[in-house]
């Protein structure tokens, strides 16, 4: 079937099986290879993208369901040359090791920040809250400490989240 969807603000079309995974549509058909495949089972979050404004695992979204929907991938987080606050913080804090989980972490953390999901959390609880909100993004290098540091830095920078 032919699907029409908005990806990173641009209208795109693809000829796909409705049972294909959004992950493969993005990587193979649209050549947006920033989104990574980790487990293929909806467990690890490496393929996190935004679908209609919510963070989802692209490996368990059927392509047919994406017709008429809005997708934002890691390629869509920056504004031109200006990285998202959390991308800058991940760079500054060294919040990446092998890098496979990093695009998914960036997408999920950007969502947490942009949607102000930490709003109202006391500073003392913010670290635990970030860990819980990012629980669906697994880093098998186990570099969580610096990743959480980066998210907290970005939250501070953006303010009021």
């Amino acid at each position: 079937m032919k699907i029409e969807l908005e990806v990173n603000g641009q209208p795109r079309t693809a000829e796909v099986s409705p049972w294909a995974r959004l992950l493969d549509v993005l990587r193979e058909d649209l050549r947006l290879t920033g989104t990574k495949e980790g487990c293929g089972e909806g467990e690890c979050g490496a393929c996190s993208v935004l679908l209609d404004g919510e963070v989802v695992n692209a490996c368990i979204v059927a392509a047919g369901q994406c017709h008429g929907r809005r997708v934002v991938t890691v390629e869509g987080l920056a504004r031109g040359e200006v990285l998202h606050a959390v991308q800058r913080a991940l760079v500054a804090c060294g919040g990446a090791q092998c890098g496979i989980c990093t695009p998914g972490i960036a997408v999920c953390a950007a969502h947490v920040i942009d949607r102000k999901l930490l709003a109202g959390k006391p500073v003392a609880e913010a670290r635990a809250a970030v860990r819980e909100l990012l629980a669906g993004n697994i880093c098998r290098c186990t570099g969580y400490q610096l990743i959480v540091d980066a998210v907290l830095v970005a939250v501070d920078e953006v303010g009021d989240s």
Binding site: G40, E54, A62, C108
Partner: protein, 281 residues
Amino acid sequence: MTPETAYTRPRDLAEALAVRAAQPSWMVLAGGTDLMVSAIHKRVPAGILDLWRLPGVGAITEGAGGGLVIGAGATWLEIGRDARVAKAWSPLALAAREIGALQIQARGTLGGNIGTSSPVGDSLPALLALDAEIEVASVRGRRRVPYAAWCTGYRTTALAADELIVAAHLPPLAAGTHLAWRKVGTRRAQSISKVMGAAAMRVECGVVTDARIALGAVADRPIRIAAVEQAVRGLARAAAAEAARAAMRGAIRPIDDVRSSASYRDLVAENLVARFFSGMI
């Protein structure tokens, strides 16, 4: 060349029911958090009936007599953030917030959990303890099935081949009803349960007068623990906790599997049920 999977996104429930009646073998797909797992290794479905965001079956609305009606298409994010669910039917809100992580909560639906009917479906003991009724629809009409009669075996339900799950009805709880929910997994967030349970315990003048205790992941389906429910009746809190612990012995027969052992599940389930009573506030 394999024939392409058919795909339909109905505009409303009537259209969905017509497709369901005509194509009972098609996959009924909502958020895909279960059916799409390892999709590339699965047999390609003949057709997909896409119910994601189907108008009219996703809302959370107040029902008759102070109850709540949760549309089958409501996601865990929506259920977990609903103030009414959190206030009066808290086990379901707590289950919703511990199902997977954000990515799963954004896509997984109540109807999916009810339809898949996995023994480890996290919302299912809550539905059982809250005495929910499941509303289903087909081109033949609508009917309601008490959740206690919904599960007919391992991953099998009372749903007929032409029916779709429409909603769960949560009745109001009697005054003095204490609610509890607890999930035990390998880690705090995003884990598959080893044991989970929900309780609705009515206390009048300091004694337990009624209790519904439901456990998941300890049998082929979510189950009520009748032995405990009978043992605690008429007892004060501390005595009820002890009686519950004693009644748990031999009451369940969990299995050894990749996630846990039978003896661990036995002990955790016993502690969990006892704490439902000792922890009442």
